[in-house]
């Protein structure tokens, strides 16, 4: 919910009488229950501590029925070997009924098929005008094609039903042929139910990632006829040892070709630079984003691209384990990055926590990308062997101060909510009021639906891009907006953060500016459009790629 200009005066008056949120504060209210979200994630475990249980699941904001309102999909685990069977689907789909309410539509949607679901990514893979959904699984992955709001799994026919331990995924048009390809990260090779038992000081604990071989990720090329071809080796992205958890796609070198970043757990993170000829070159170490600034391999979990520094170049974030900082990078240009975790203030705040989802989003509508991070330990019994550590940990909201630094607030203190074991998170404006809300998937618990109740006096612009020559979802499109002397760069992105899918629309807060100076859209096809004359403020506007009749 956003309190616009009319309510600002009222709030200012209320501020004289009692505490009210300051204009610079980011304020969330957990609206999950009042919105009708009845869901509890399960890791599928029952005491055996199978390795897969720790990974958790993501969450997707997806407009399944094309009504302009964001629906919610929560993937979940299913009972693992030795545990009692579930009596119904564990993953759930909620249709947005408007007015801030959701209705469980799992059965009607076709998204309730059993399967140990982890990550998800959305995009219109068959160019029929609606958003399809890929779901990564422990076991064969799913590709749900959307037919007017009803989904059917076509992963096997499409050739993407990889039985590996899938984690995050993202659609991208890496060859810019106008249809969506797919990158799927895989974690480790594990035979759940036949694993070794691991102990720590005599205590039964989850095993470590290093106890399992990494599983290679997959890049699938969309052949345009409903089928995908695995092009992993020939595209140069085959990394057999990778333990991939997070994926984010963005054009970091601004050459028009989407690049791929993979956060790996205990391996080097990979930065695949798109060479524009159907192949990629791994440049993580050279770019300075593969390991910690001391050269230490870290536990990469989630990741996201976003120009938080406002210089027009995509910056990067990667979440890591406790005792490590979440790595916040600033692009230096020329394909190089600088780790500014400590200099920005985000590093110090992240040290006590195991970080997962990392989501860049302008949460206070001031035109600067803030950063939302979920936390939660991997060891359910960590308090028994690590002093000061807890399994449930608070999410962190890092507010961008615009001077290279962030101010951090713990969500439990900011919103009076008990910490849970956080995993996936996605940003999206589910109530259509022009600010970004956040959905969080919590391990073995109810999710958070964090309604953004921050004060916003300024104006905003929402864009829904529809490709014609480009892929229909316009994934990979870059929009540059100038307003009030500030440059804002956003890209339409599929799966990112951690196992999750955010709003495919782009939302710009204008801060103090009353109008925009320029708005340039660079479509994935390469077409560049000055779109300033085609939009109105304080509303969502659909921009159709010019040059073709839709």
């Amino acid at each position: 919910m956003n309190r616009g200009p009319a309510s600002v005066a009222a709030c200012a008056l209320a501020g004289l009488l009692g505490p009210a949120p300051a204009a610079s504060q980011i304020v969330f209210t957990d609206a999950a229950r009042e919105a009708g979200i009845r869901f509890r994630h399960t890791d599928g475990g029952c005491g055996s501590r199978w390795f897969a249980e720790q990974v958790g699941s993501g969450v997707a904001f997806i407009d399944a029925d094309g009504d302009g309102r964001l629906d919610l999909y929560f993937p979940s685990g299913v009972p693992l070997p030795g545990c009692p069977e579930a009596d119904r689907a564990t993953s759930r789909f909620f249709r947005n009924a408007g007015g801030g309410r959701f209705a469980d539509a799992t059965d009607a949607s076709g998204l309730g098929e059993p399967g140990y679901a982890t990550g998800c990514a959305a995009g219109d893979v068959d160019s029929d005008g609606d958003e399809d959904l890929f779901v990564a699984c422990l076991g064969p992955d799913r590709l749900y094609r959307n037919e007017r709001g009803r989904f059917a799994d076509s992963a096997a026919e499409a050739g993407v039903a990889d039985p590996a331990f899938g984690s995050s995924a993202s659609f991208l048009d890496y060859d810019r042929d106008g249809d969506l390809d797919l990158y799927v990260a895989s974690y480790v090779e594990v035979e759940t139910g036949k694993e070794k038992r691991c102990t720590r000081g005599g205590l039964h604990v989850y095993c470590l990632p290093q106890d399992y071989p990494g599983a290679p990720d997959r890049l699938y090329r969309n052949d345009g006829r409903g089928r995908f071809t695995d092009v992993t080796p020939e595209a140069g992205v085959l990394m057999p040892r990778g333990r991939g958890l997070g994926v984010a796609v963005g054009d970091y070198d601004s050459d028009g070709w989407p690049d791929i970043y993979v956060a790996n757990d205990t391996n080097e993170n990979h930065l695949f630079r798109n060479l524009g000829d159907g192949t990629f070159l791994e440049r993580g170490l050279e770019a300075g984003v593969a390991v910690s600034e001391n050269g230490v391999l870290e536990n990469g979990m989630g990741t996201d691209w976003g120009d938080w520094s406002g210089d027009g170049l995509l910056d990067l974030v990667v979440t890591n384990f406790d005792g490590q900082t979440n790595a916040l990078y600033r692009s230096l240009g020329g394909g190089l990055f600088e780790d500014v975790s400590f200099a920005s203030g985000t590093g110090e705040a992240s040290l006590p926590y195991v970080g997962w989802a990392s989501v860049f989003a302008d949460l206070d509508s001031d035109g600067l990308l803030d950063l939302f991070v979920t936390n939660g330990h991997v060891f359910d019994n960590v308090a028994r062997f690590q002093e000061g550590a807890a399994y449930a940990q608070p999410s962190l909201v890092h507010r961008n101060l615009g001077n290279g630094r962030f101010a951090t607030r713990r969500l439990d203190r900011a919103a009076s909510m008990e910490p849970r074991v956080g995993r996936g998170a996605a940003a999206g404006d589910y109530d259509g009021d022009g600010d970004l809300d956040i959905a969080v998937s919590n391990l073995n618990a109810e999710p958070f639906l964090l309604r953004n109740d921050s004060l916003r006096a300024g104006r905003w612009l929402g864009l829904r891009l529809a490709g014609t020559r480009s892929n229909r979802s316009a994934i990979g499109a870059r929009v540059e907006l100038r307003a009030g002397g500030r440059l804002q760069v956003r890209e339409v992105k599929s799966g990112s953060g951690y196992l999750s899918q955010g709003d495919l629309r782009l939302l710009f807060g204008l801060g103090d500016a009353r109008s925009i100076d320029s708005l340039v859209v660079r479509w994935p096809s390469g077409r560049v459009e000055d779109a300033a004359g085609r939009v109105i403020l304080d509303a969502y506007v659909t921009l159709v790629e010019p040059g073709h009749v839709q």
């Binding site: 106890d211 001391n294 050269g295 190089l336 200099a343 590093g347 110090e348 040290l351 690590q386 002093e387």
Partner: protein, 355 residues
């Protein structure tokens, strides 16, 4: 940024020990003697890798000599080694209450707070330490680390500079200074410091890494690539060295983890593949043993690698392939008795064949 010089970076948790003032009535000389004995005993236990036993001894000593700041300090260190940082901090705080100007303890507590993300407190403790003893290398170095983390780059540069004056041949200090200079945009100076660090300690992987980053920023691409290779080798070498310690202790699982980490750092590190082949063979995981032995043979086509692959294949029950590879080993080193024996074993002429 460089990590601490202080080795005690792991936590420990402990019962609180009341300070019994009666003990201070004991004769000073006898107390000093008893303290010395206790510290020696605890030190010996820690050196034997028995921090829990060391801590027990120290806690008993503290019951007898509760006013000993040194015993509390050592108990804190033992706690850190046991992975119990909060208990360690409690001991350090008591030690400082007993002896406020204890530089060693101020430094240890500063490091502990820094690692918990409590940088403001860390800075206060470390500033106190250097004000008391400006010549303390550990205090200066760790203050520099904390200042860099707090974003006070000029302050960090100055502290690193002082540390470098105290110990100009300390590679970690030069590496830290290089890192700060890089953040300040003084890239050529950074390069000089990092080159010095790498020259002083070629096994210091972080120095090679930062040096490569600086070179890339300076447009010295080939140099950067070269330093990255050194980084990978140094990193992998560290893990292999740790694995060897675990192997000597008979801890195959931890050895395997370290060797896997070595390969995460440098997939082409032959020794890690070779050792992993042997470890997995001993653990009964023949497919992985064969995979690593095969990779070692690919990377380093020598008789010993071929023979190792033959052993792994033999262990996996693939006698035909095993024979082929032991023949290849013998072709390169015809007289080697071990290979001949393995060949006989494969052919069923003799038993054995495990390395």
């Amino acid at each position: 940024m460089a990590r601490r010089l202080d080795a005690s970076r792991f936590a420990c948790g402990v019962a609180r020990v009341p300070i019994v003032l009666l003990a201070v009535l004991a004769p000073v000389a006898a107390r000093a003697e008893a303290e010395k004995d206790l510290l020696e005993r605890a030190g010996a236990l820690r050196a034997q890798g028995k921090p829990a036993a060391a801590l027990d001894a120290l806690l008993k000593g503290i019951e007898e000599l509760p006013a000993s700041a040194r015993l509390h300090h050592e108990a804190g260190r033992a706690c850190e080694e046991l992975g119990r940082p909060e208990s360690a901090a409690e001991h350090y705080v008591v030690a400082l209450r007993l002896e406020a100007g204890r530089v060693e303890t101020l430094t240890a507590l500063g490091v502990l707070r820094s690692e918990a993300g409590r940088l403001e407190e860390a800075e206060a403790h470390l500033r106190a330490a250097v004000s008391i003893e400006p010549g303390s290398l550990a205090a200066q170095h760790n203050l520099a680390v904390v200042l860099a983390r707090r974003g006070d780059l000029e302050g960090a540069r100055a502290a690193y500079g002082k540390a470098a004056k105290i110990a100009p041949r300390e590679a970690k200090v030069r590496h830290g200074l290089g890192g700060v200079l890089e953040k300040l945009g003084r890239l050529e100076e950074a390069r000089g410091e990092l080159e010095a660090a790498a020259a002083l300690d070629p096994g210091l992987a972080p120095a090679w890494y930062r040096l490569s980053c600086v070179c890339f920023r300076l447009g010295r691409k080939e140099e950067g690539e070269r330093h990255l290779r050194r980084f990978r080798q140094a990193k992998a070498g560290q893990h292999v060295a740790r694995a060897e310690t675990h192997l000597r202790e008979g801890d195959l699982r931890r050895a395997a983890r370290e060797l896997e980490r070595a390969l995460d750092a440098d997939e082409a590190y032959v020794e890690a593949h070779a050792r992993l082949g042997a470890v997995y063979l001993r653990e009964g995981d023949a497919p992985r043993a064969v995979a690593h032995a095969r990779r070692a043979a690919e990377l380093d086509p020598r008789a010993v690698r071929y023979a190792n692959l033959a052993w792994a294949l033999h262990g996996a029950g693939d006698r035909h392939e095993a024979l082929r590879w032991i023949e290849k080993a013998l072709a390169l080193d015809p007289g080697k008795a071990e290979y001949l024996e393995e060949r006989r074993a494969i052919l069923g002429e003799a038993k054995g064949g495990s390395k």
